[in-house]
Symmetry: C2
Subunit: 228 residues, 2 copies
């Protein structure tokens, strides 16, 4: 078709709509902690700051509402939700539902290359972990995302993204730190092993155990910070 060698016609360069850009901007503001749980969003002010009118902003807020990152009360305004112990536990249970299923599917569908790459990834994080004795484990979510990707189900992947987002906000409040890097790493290895034996039930058990440990840890944090 295209006869010449011009770099690229790029139908992709079209800057996407104000609504989409605004959506990403506001989402980042929430995830980055600029807006904190309990805060109220002033539409006119925020629209001005982002350089758009209230129309696109309102569409973006509507989307964020269904993502759960924002809560709208009629005639009152838009608020950043506060996640208590109950909500956080519910999110963890949803996460367990999705990621356990993803682990099952990954055990059935992973290609040899998938497994090899996952192993390399874990080896790399293992080295980092043992050399510098970090108590933090920044690549935890990376591992989980990779497994959901291997599962090859877009619906699961999309929901997983959403849940991780919400948990990020839910945990942000009490200065959450994993502090259990080595344990998590060991559990990740167990999951990898289950995948390599292509045993969905074993993958199920390993992933579930891993997530429940995480939930138990978060529960403990909540009980410490507020006996709710």
């Amino acid at each position: 078709m295209a006869s010449t060698d011009i770099p690229v016609p790029r139908p992709l360069d079209r800057p996407d709509s104000f609504t989409q850009r605004t959506l990403r901007a506001v989402r980042d503001l929430i995830l980055s902690g600029h807006f904190r749980p309990g805060d109220r969003v002033n539409e006119a002010e925020l629209a001005e700051a982002l350089g758009v009118s209230r129309g696109p902003l309102r569409e973006a807020l509507q989307q964020l509402t269904s993502e759960g990152l924002v809560h709208r009360i009629p005639h009152r305004g838009t608020f950043i939700p506060e996640f208590g112990a109950t909500e956080t536990v519910e999110l963890y249970e949803l996460r367990e539902a999705i990621e356990v299923m993803a682990a099952r599917l990954a055990a059935e569908r992973a290609t040899p290359e998938d497994l090899a790459e996952l192993r390399r990834f874990l080896d790399a994080t293992g080295e980092v972990l043992h050399s510098s004795d970090e108590a933090h484990y920044p690549r935890d979510l990376d591992f989980h995302d990779r497994i959901v990707a291997i599962a090859g189900n877009r619906q699961l992947q999309a929901r997983c993204r959403e849940v991780h987002q919400l948990l990020h906000v839910a945990r942000s409040r009490s200065g959450f730190r994993t502090e259990r890097a080595h344990q998590a790493y060991d559990e990740h290895r167990a999951i990898l092993q289950a995948l390599e034996t292509r045993d969905p039930d074993a993958a199920d058990r390993a992933m579930r155990a891993h997530l429940r440990t995480g939930l138990a840890h978060v529960r403990q944090l909540f009980e410490l910070s507020e006996p709710d």
Copy 2:
């Protein structure tokens, strides 16, 4: 506070916003089959028909987009998505993730009353099923919704609703009929039994088996209608 006995001050009577009403209206139009997969939505026309301006309609469409009931292409318009075999299978897998988890939680959390009511419900549907030999099983979803309700996790419940909606649209195209009412009924009894023994693993297995049977059935329909 309120000293007098006037019926009710009712802060609830406030008719909710145009956006909310429009959202429900359009959702119903899609679920009822008025809009069919592949159809395009004309904003001006639909807004006029619903008696609102394009603003609220666009906010409603934005929400429907994140529910997956609608697909927007920039500068092209809003379309009702067409669910092929791949998408439908993915939805079933997501459903399995959610409802299996719900069954596990229900096994742990169901009160005796919950179980008694669920049993009454199943008995009632059983009678209907055996007296009039309906091939159709209209209360199938009811049963599933009850279990998710018993699980008592709002996040799971909300996602479950969404998935059921999408599956409704996905199946609507090829004049889907269950045709396996008696089998489904038996499987439901098995699930109930697992719940009554309060065995999460048994509930897991029973629910998973039930949903996989359903998926196998749908797969068969797709292979018949289109060898995709």
